[in-house]
């Protein structure tokens, strides 16, 4: 295993060229590159969008943990997006001076641009409730849609989902539910009548905690990449990918857990001692459920399942950003659009300038931004593919042809997922796709 894919060099003559439809991309991956071509504009686009993504993500992870650990089973959680000060100030484990593994040089508290947006929104300074009702706020609905994709697809590797069905989990959840409702006889009576309904809600909250802990890592990773780029220390797409690969390894062993707090008391619904890790129980299921699969969005496009427009097998779902036609999904209320709207508020000036120069300028900024996000997620997925190759297979500079062929088969199998017509891998090879 090596610390950097770019330090490795493939011994090209040792194995014949790939004959895969995406052979060029495969050869690039074998040379330590990304699925996204290495151009200065691609680098600018992906780093700019990582920064714009990290600011709302700084809210998502905090509020997800607030919901999982504090709001919990509140019967009418109308104020679940009104994050408490404690969670808004909650120190990020990977930023600030207190961090044991400092990824971002910045503050451990909420990002200043996020705080400014929470004050003013797109409109003017007004009470939080009015911002909320006017929908002038961070779109937490997007974060919850991602969580639901993870809950719904389930079984994508790791042991998290199996644990949610275990007797140990049911006993922990039961203890937490009874403690949470100990002064609410009506809810306790409902729990006695419909225990599985409550349990399923707690499972959803466990995925809420899972996603919050996942994004707590990704926000400082993206902030640091943006700072490095601004300093001229990230100068190529493969360097950006390698930063992600190294980040994936560095935090791979982070515990994934679900704790409920009632006052000062902590109820461990999924204890850290179960051994669940960021890589296996959060990152890999997230990428599979959200970046590849998700589900057909109810919006401008209708899908007819009986006409085979929706695959019978969940593993074949292909509604994630890697397959998205950004234009038709760009409608209000549809999860990717909610994220695009969130990112629009935090674009760095160089991306705003770039969008003004192309297509319809500011008029279709949201679409251009969505395609930039698509490019950036192909780079994140490349990092995941390289990290898995690094962890489970062989170095790119291995001199054993059989090992290189094993790497080749792995890369080809990954590229097979982009053979379907909806995939955007071909599109992102060109800078004209905007």
């Amino acid at each position: 295993m090596t610390s950097s894919a770019t330090q490795e060099r493939i011994q090209a003559p040792l194995i014949p060229p790939s004959t895969h439809r995406f052979a060029d991309v495969i050869h690039r991956l074998e040379a330590g590159g990304s699925m996204l071509p290495d151009t200065p504009e691609n680098l600018k686009q992906i780093i700019g969008i990582y920064k714009a993504y990290a600011v709302p993500m700084d809210f998502y992870w905090r509020d997800l943990l607030y919901i999982a650990e504090r709001v919990f089973l509140k019967p009418l959680p109308a104020f679940k997006y009104f994050i408490s000060k404690e969670y808004l100030d909650r120190p990020n484990s990977y930023a600030g001076d207190q961090s044991k593994l400092r990824i971002w040089r910045g503050t451990e508290k909420a990002h200043p641009e996020l705080l400014e947006f929470m004050e003013r929104g797109e409109t003017v300074r007004m009470p939080k409730l009015l911002h909320h009702l006017w929908h002038d706020r961070v779109n937490m609905e997007f974060a919850e849609a991602c969580m639901q994709a993870m809950l719904w697809h389930q079984g994508m590797g790791g042991r998290f989902n199996d644990y949610l069905e275990s007797d140990a989990y049911k006993a922990n959840a039961d203890r937490a539910i009874k403690a949470y409702f100990k002064r609410n006889p009506l809810m306790l009576a409902l729990y006695a009548l419909f225990p599985d309904m409550f349990l399923e809600q707690v499972r959803q909250l466990s995925y809420t905690a899972n996603l919050g802990l996942f994004w707590e890592v990704m926000a400082p990773v993206f902030f640091e990449m943006s700072d490095l780029y601004d300093e001229g220390k990230l100068s190529s797409v493969p360097e950006a990918m390698d930063f992600l690969v190294n980040g994936i390894f560095a935090v791979a062993g982070r515990p994934i857990y679900h704790h409920l707090y009632i006052g000062e008391e902590c109820y461990e619904i999924i204890p850290k001692s179960e051994g669940f890790t960021w890589l296996y129980e959060a990152a890999l299921p997230y990428v599979e459920a959200v970046v590849y699969r998700t589900s057909p969005f109810r919006g401008t496009k209708r899908y007819n399942a009986q006409a085979q427009q929706v695959p019978p097998d969940q593993a074949d779902f292909h509604y994630g950003i890697l397959y998205a036609d950004v234009f038709p999904v760009g409608s209000a209320g549809i999860p990717p659009t909610l994220l695009m709207q969130d990112m629009l508020h935090f674009l760095p000036p160089y991306l705003k300038d770039l969008y003004k120069q192309h297509k319809r300028g500011e008029e279709d900024e949201l679409i251009q931004l969505g395609i930039t996000f698509q490019r950036s997620m192909y780079n994140v997925t490349s990092a995941v593919i390289q990290a898995l190759r690094c962890a489970l297979l062989y170095p790119l500079d291995d001199t054993n042809p059989e090992h290189l062929m094993a790497n080749r088969r792995f890369f080809e199998a990954q590229m097979d997922r982009f053979l379907r017509p909806e995939a955007r891998l071909s599109d992102i090879q060109s800078q004209d796709y905007r």
Binding site: G253, P255, Y280
Partner: protein
């Protein structure tokens, strides 16, 4: 004859592994009668992991224990026995594939020294840390 951990300590090339076993609280278990088969990564194998990887695991003993248990089989198996079967169930629960007989390869690691027989099992020295998945 010495135990698995005593043997590893005497060689001097397993300092990280031994420190990890202590951090994960697995010393007691591995000093037991077993028997176990341990695929022991050398210090260089841990050093080759990207910066921060080992430290995050050491800070979180249950997660570290999970990765270490992936290097252990219940029962003492020689190289000859291991290569007769494609997959072996690790103590972590995930299977360990035997990918090649000659050279002897366990998952994506090469066994650089096989069949080190100890009191409570067998050690096979490997050149990479193996990970479930």
């Amino acid at each position: 004859m010495a135990s698995i951990l005593e043997t590893a300590a005497s060689v001097g090339a397993f300092n990280t592994l031994l420190a990890a076993v202590d951090a994960a609280g697995l010393r007691g278990a591995l000093e037991g009668p077993g028997p176990f088969t341990v695929f022991a990564p050398v210090d260089d194998a841990f050093a080759a992991l990207p910066p921060g990887t080992v430290q995050t695991l050491v800070d979180n003993p249950p997660q570290l224990a999970r990765i270490l248990k992936y290097h252990v089989l219940s029962g003492a198996y020689s190289r000859e026995q291991l290569v007769a079967q494609d997959n072996w169930e690790s103590l972590e629960g995930a299977p360990i594939p035997i990918r090649s007989q000659d050279p002897f390869e366990v998952k994506n690691a090469t066994v650089v020294n096989a069949d080190v027989v100890c009191d409570n099992g067998v050690v096979h020295v490997i050149d990479r840390v193996i990970l479930p998945g």
